[in-house]
Symmetry: C2
C-alpha cells in the first residue's frame, strides 16, 4: 500500500509514516522512556508501534536537531487500529460498513495481508490516534523533565506538546503518490473535475470536502456569471435594471446551498464518514485548570469552571469584539472622507490623474481592511485561547464566530452604508469592484506566492547542501534529508482561511452582484486560480497535514446559510429601491415599502419551507443507511429470540459490544 | 405488579392485559389458527403469549359478541419483551439504561421475580408490540377468510384489522390504579402540580408529555395574566398603550418555548424515552400497493410509487387546501358584511337589543369557524388517507400540516384583517373576545361533556342489565361485564385535538393579547378547566389507550415555534401602528415603517441566536448522557485491545450485538 520508502539511513526496514520531533535539549532518559512506552505491548500500557531515530544523514551538521523519530507499525497493528478508530470501508456488497478485523476478508480491496487496503493517510491517521491515546500510568512527570507533570490517564503526547518537549508530530509525504496527484490535480491543463477521491485518499476527508465545495461553488456561479456578462455589457450605465438579477440571486443562493448539502452527503457516504461515530473528545493540549474528577469519564483531569469561561466570553471577548467593530466603523468613516475629498479634487479639475485618484481611497481601504482582518485574527486567536475551552471543537467554533462577525462587518459595512444610507449605486458598483479585485490579489499573494517563494529558498538551500557531498537528482533526495526538509516546511493550519475567503466571496456575489453583475465572473476566475494555488500550496508548500475525518463542512454550512438569509433581505431592499419598482408606486412610498417588506417576509418563509422540503440526504443513500440500521435491528431481535427460547444455553461470558454497523456475515453466524 | 384482576369467568388464572375483539362472524378455523399462532413458541414462529376467550358473562344475551379474547403473558416473557422493545429503566446508579434480562438485578426496583418492575402500561405496550410483530409464515390467506390475503412476513394483526376481521385491540383499565390516579389528578381540590409520573405510569409518555405541556403552558401564562388584569382595568378604553405589553409578549413567547424544550428533555430522560431508539417503522395498516421488494428490508411487501404520492399531494391535496382557504376567506367577508349591517342597525336606533345584536355576527362566525374546522378535519383525514402514506408518522405529519394551516387561517384571518387592513383596534378587541370565549365553550362541550353524557347512558344501561340478575355494587362489576363495558367505550384518538386547541390558544395570546390583555386570563382559566376535563375524559370516558413512547412533543414544538415567529412579526406591526410610536415620527410615515421593519428583523435575528445559545438539554442530563456514551466507547476499546493482544483467543462465534447503552456490569465481565 505505501510505496516502500527505503529507510536507507537507519537499521530498521519498516515504512516510516509519522515523524516525531523532540526538542534538541530533551533529556536522554525522557527519550528512552517515551520510545519504550510507544513500543510496549498493550498489556504493559503501550501502543505497540515501531519507532526509530532518524540518522543525521549526509548533510549532517552540529546545528541539526538529532531528535527526529520515525514511527511506523506492523500490518496487523494498523488493521486493529483501523477497527479501533472506527474506520468505514466499502463492504463486498457495495455499502459502507465499520471495519472489523474479524471480518476483514469481506471488505472490498482486501487482498492477502491487506496491502493497499488502507491508504497511507489512513495509516497515518491511525498512528496519530494511537499516539494521542498513549496515557500516563503512575508517572508523576516525564522522566528528566519535572516541569512536565503527569497524572494517571493524561495523554503523554499532549503534555509533551504543551510543555514544548515535543516540537511537532507530522505525517510524511509520499513522493510518488504526490507526484501523481499533483499531475492529475493541477499540473495538466484540462477541462475536468478535480480528482476528489485521490485528494481524499492523500489528504483526508476534511481537505477533500473543502476542494469539493470550492469546485461546487465555482460551478454554481457559472450560470450567474453567464447572465452577468450580457447584463454588464448592455446595461453598462443603467444600474437600475437589476430587479431580474436580484430575484435570480435570491433563488440561486437558497437552492445551491440546499443542493450542496445533498452533494456533500453523497461524498461523505462514499468516503465512509457519514455514519462514522465521533470519538470521545479529549481536552485540547492548551487546556489548563485545577485537577478534579471529570463527571463524565470519572477520571482525574484538569477542570475549569464553565461560569468563569462564560464570564470571560461575555465580559471581555464580547466587549472587545464590539470595540473592534466600532473601530472598523471609524475606519470606514475615514474612507468616506477620503472618498469625498478625492471626488472634490476630481470635480474641480478633472484630469487623468484625478480619475486614477478616484480609485485610490477604495484601494487603500481594501488594503486596510485586509490588514485589520489579519490583526484581528491574531487577537481573536489570543482571546479564544485565553477563554480556555476544554474541547478543540468549541475552541474552533468560538474562534470562527469571532472572526466571521468581524470580517463580515469589516468587508461589507461600507457597501451597506453606500447602498442603503447613501443610496448611490454608481459608487456601490465602484467600491464593490475595487474591494473584490484588491482583496483577491492580496489574498493570492499572501496565501500561495509568498509561502512558495519562502519554501523554494529553503528547498534550494537544502539541495545545495546535499549536492555539496553527493551528486543526486532532486527526486532521489535521501530519506534523512527528505524528512528534515519536510520538518522545516510550514505547517498547514487547516481550512479555516480558505473557507473564510469563500464565505466573503459568496457574500459579495449573493449580496450585491445585482448591482455589479461582473462580480460573479470575477469570483469564478478567482476560484479557478484558487483551485490551482490551493492545490499547489497543499502539494508543495506545506507539510502534509494529518487527515481529519469530516462528514460535512460543519459550521461553515451554517455561516453560508446565514449569509443567504441576509442576501434575501439585502436583495429585497435593493429591489424596493430600484426606480423600476418605484415607478409602480408613484403616489405612495409607504405602499412601496410595505409591499417590499411583505414580499421579503414571503421569500424568507419560502426559503425555510424549501429547506424543509428538500431532503438533506439523497434517496439512494437514505435507503442504504436504513438498510444497515434495519439489519442491525433484525440481528438484535434474532439474538434475543434465540436467547428467549433457550437455544443459547451456553451464553458466553464475553460480551461483544459492536456499534450499530455490524456486518451481515457475523450476524449470519448466529 | 399488576393488581390481580381475578379472571373469574374463564378457566385460566393469568392477568388479562389486552383485549382482542374479533368480528362476530369470524370463522372458527380463523380463530383457532390465530390463537395457536399467538400461543406458539418462538421456534414455530409464534409469540408465546397467553390468550383465552372471554365467557359470555352473567348479562349474556344473543346480541353480544362472543369473540372477545384476553391476552396476557408470563413474567419471563414480559421481561424478554421489555428488552426487545428497548425499554429504558432506572439503573442502580441512578442513570437510565436499556433493560436487558441478563442484567435485570442491577436495575432499581427489580425485586424477586420482577413484581412491580414493569408497570401495567408497559406490559400492555410490550404485548401490543409482540402482537404487531406476529408475522405470516407460508399462509396465503387467513384460514376461512380468503379475502384476507397474506404473504410471508406480513403482520397478521394489521391484515386482520385492515380487513375488518379484527375489530379492535385495546388494553384493559386497572380499576384500583385508575381510582387512585383520578383522585390525585382531578378529584381532590388542591393547589399542586399534576401527578405527571403517575400519569406516565398509567397512560405512557405521549399522554404525560401532553399534560406536562398543558401545565407548563398554563404556568407560563400566569405572569402574562397578572400583567393583563391591571392593564385591562385601568386602560379600559385606551387601546393604544399596548407597546410595553407587545414587547413583553415577544420576549415571553420565545423564552417559554426554549425553556419548555429543556423541561421536556428532563422529563423524557427521567422516563427513559430520551435515548431510546426508535423501532423500525412498519407500513401503516391502511397502506396498499403492488407487491414488490422493499429496498431496505429486502422483504416482499406492497410498494407504492413515491412520485405518484407526490403528484397526489401537489396536484390534488394542495389545490384542495387552497380552495378551502379561499372558502374560509369568503365566509370571513360575509361576516364583515353582517358586522357592518349590525353596526348600521345599532347606529340608527341604539337600544339594548341592538347592543346585543352587535355581538351576534361574531358569535355566529365563531360557531361557523368551529363547524368548518370540523368538516375540514374529516376532509383532510380522507385526503391524507388517500395519499397512501407508507408510515404512520408521515401520515400524521401530512395530516397535522393540512389541519394546522387551515385552522390557523380560519381562526386568525379575520383578526389579521381587522388589525392590519381595517386598523380598528376596538373591533379587534371585541372580535378576539367573542372568538376566544365562544370557541372555548364549544370546545369544552364537544370534547368532554358530550362524550361523558353518552358514556353515562351506556354505563347505566349496563349496570341495569347486570343488576337485574345480581345485586352488585358498581365497583364489583365482574370481569366479563367490565371488559364488554370497556369495549363499548369510545376510542381515544390521540393528543392531536388537544394540542391543536392549545396551539390556537397560544396563537390568540401571543399574537393579539396586547390589544386584549384579558386574553391571557381567559386562557389560563380555560387551561385549568381543560386539565380537569381532559383528565376526566381520559379516566372515565375513553378506553384506555396504548401508551406510546415519546421523547418530546414532536412536530408541535415546530408548530409553536412557527407561531412565535409570526407573533414577532405581528407584535412589531401592532407596535408600529400604535399612536404612541407614531407620535415619535410625526413628519414621516416612511421613517416609522423602516424603523419598525429594522427592529423586527433585529428581534427575529435575536430570537434565532437565543435558540442557539440556550442549550436544549440541561447540563446535568448532558453529563449523564455523555457518561453513558463514554462508557460504551471505553468498553469497545477495551474489548478491541483484548482482542489485539490475543487474550481472547477463544473468540466465541455468537456475536452479541448490543445497542449503545450497554451496562457497566456486562462490560466489567469482559
Amino acid at each position: 500500500m505505501v510505496p516502500a520508502v527505503s529507510a536507507d539511513c537507519s537499521s530498521t526496514s519498516f515504512t516510516p509514516l509519522v515523524v516525531l520531533e523532540l526538542a534538541s535539549d530533551t533529556k536522554q532518559e525522557a527519550i528512552a522512556w517515551l520510545l519504550s512506552r510507544i513500543r510496549d505491548p498493550h498489556q504493559n500500557g503501550g501502543i505497540e508501534l515501531l519507532v526509530e531515530q532518524l540518522g543525521l544523514g549526509d548533510g549532517g551538521s552540529e546545528k541539526e536537531n538529532p531528535n527526529l523519530f520515525l514511527v511506523g507499525a506492523k500490518w496487523q497493528r494498523l488493521l486493529s487500529g483501523a477497527e479501533e478508530v472506527g474506520l468505514f470501508k466499502e463492504f463486498s456488497d457495495g455499502s459502507m460498513r465499520g471495519f472489523t478485523c474479524a471480518n476483514k476478508h469481506n471488505f472490498k480491496h482486501f487482498e492477502g495481508d491487506g496491502d493497499s487496503f488502507l491508504s497511507m493517510a489512513e495509516c497515518q491517521y491511525i498512528i496519530k490516534h494511537e499516539l494521542d491515546t498513549l496515557r500516563a500510568k503512575d508517572e508523576t512527570h516525564v522522566p528528566g523533565h519535572p516541569q512536565a507533570k503527569l497524572y494517571p490517564g493524561k495523554s503523554i503526547i499532549r503534555r509533551l506538546l504543551s510543555k514544548g518537549v515535543l516540537i511537532q508530530v507530522f505525517p510524511l509525504h509520499e513522493k510518488e503518490e504526490l507526484k501523481r496527484l499533483s499531475y492529475s490535480w493541477y499540473q495538466k491543463i484540462k477541462l475536468s473535475f478535480q480528482p476528489l477521491d485521490d485528494i481524499r485518499r492523500y489528504y483526508g476527508e476534511g481537505q477533500a470536502l473543502y476542494f469539493g465545495f470550492l469546485e461546487y461553488f465555482t460551478f454554481a456561479l457559472v450560470p450567474m456569471a453567464l447572465i452577468g456578462v450580457p447584463y454588464y455589457l448592455f446595461d453598462w450605465e443603467n444600474y437600475d435594471k437589476y430587479v431580474v438579477f436580484a430575484v435570480f440571486n435570491l433563488v440561486w443562493c437558497t437552492v445551491i446551498l440546499e443542493l450542496w448539502k445533498r452533494f456533500s452527503t453523497s461524498l461523505a457516504y462514499s468516503w465512509g464518514t457519514l455514519s462514522r461515530k465521533k470519538a470521545f473528545e479529549e481536552p485540547r493540549p492548551g487546556f489548563h485548570g485545577v485537577l478534579g474528577f471529570n463527571p463524565v469519564t470519572g477520571r482525574e483531569e484538569p477542570l475549569y469552571s464553565n461560569t468563569k469561561r462564560q464570564l470571560c466570553v461575555y465580559l471581555v471577548s464580547l466587549p472587545f469584539v464590539l470595540l473592534c467593530l466600532y473601530l472598523s466603523l471609524y475606519v470606514m468613516m475615514i474612507y468616506f472622507l477620503m472618498e469625498g475629498w478625492a471626488l472634490s479634487v476630481h470635480d474641480e479639475e478633472p484630469t487623468f490623474w484625478t480619475r486614477v485618484l478616484l480609485f485610490i481611497p477604495s484601494i487603500i481601504y481594501a488594503v486596510v481592511i485586509e490588514i485589520m482582518n489579519l490583526v484581528y485574527r491574531y487577537a481573536a486567536e489570543f482571546l479564544t485561547e485565553w477563554e480556555n475551552h476544554r474541547l478543540e471543537s468549541s475552541y474552533q467554533n468560538q474562534l470562527i464566530l469571532k472572526v466571521l462577525v468581524f470580517n463580515f462587518f469589516n468587508c461589507f459595512a461600507s457597501l451597506f452604508y453606500i447602498a442603503f444610507a447613501m443610496q448611490d449605486m454608481a459608487l456601490l458598483r465602484q467600491s464593490l469592484a475595487t474591494l473584490l479585485i484588491t482583496s483577491q490579489i492580496l489574498n493570492q499573494i499572501m496565501e500561495a506566492f509568498l509561502p512558495y517563494w519562502l519554501q523554494r529558498r529553503r528547498n534550494k538551500k537544502m539541495m545545495r547542501k546535499v549536492q555539496k557531498r553527493k551528486a543526486v537528482a532532486e527526486a532521489e533526495l535521501p530519506l534523512a534529508e527528505q524528512v528534515r526538509l519536510e520538518a522545516d516546511m510550514s505547517t498547514y493550519l487547516g481550512t479555516f482561511d480558505d473557507y473564510l475567503e469563500l464565505f466573503l466571496l459568496f457574500g459579495y456575489v449573493s449580496l450585491f452582484s445585482c448591482v455589479y453583475p461582473l462580480a460573479a465572473v470575477l469570483v469564478v476566475l478567482n476560484n479557478i486560480t484558487e483551485v490551482y494555488s490551493d492545490a499547489f500550496k497543499m502539494c508543495r508548500v506545506f507539510k502534509r497535514p494529518f487527515s481529519e475525518p469530516a462528514a460535512n463542512i460543519g459550521v461553515w454550512q451554517l455561516a453560508f446559510e446565514a449569509m443567504s438569509v441576509i442576501a434575501v433581505v439585502t436583495n429585497c431592499s435593493l429591489i424596493g429601491m430600484s426606480p423600476q419598482v418605484k415607478a409602480y408606486f408613484p403616489e405612495s412610498e409607504t405602499q412601496l415599502i410595505l409591499w417590499t417588506v411583505a414580499i421579503e417576509h414571503g421569500l424568507l418563509a419560502f426559503k425555510f419551507i424549501l429547506s424543509f422540503i428538500i431532503p438533506d440526504v439523497p434517496k439512494h443513500i437514505q435507503i442504504k443507511l436504513s438498510r444497515l440500521e434495519f439489519e442491525s435491528l433484525e440481528a438484535l431481535k434474532k439474538k434475543r429470540q434465540l436467547y428467549v427460547v433457550g437455544l443459547s444455553f451456553n451464553r458466553p461470558k464475553q460480551c461483544f459490544l459492536l456499534s450499530n454497523e455490524t456486518n451481515r456475515s457475523e450476524l449470519v453466524g448466529d
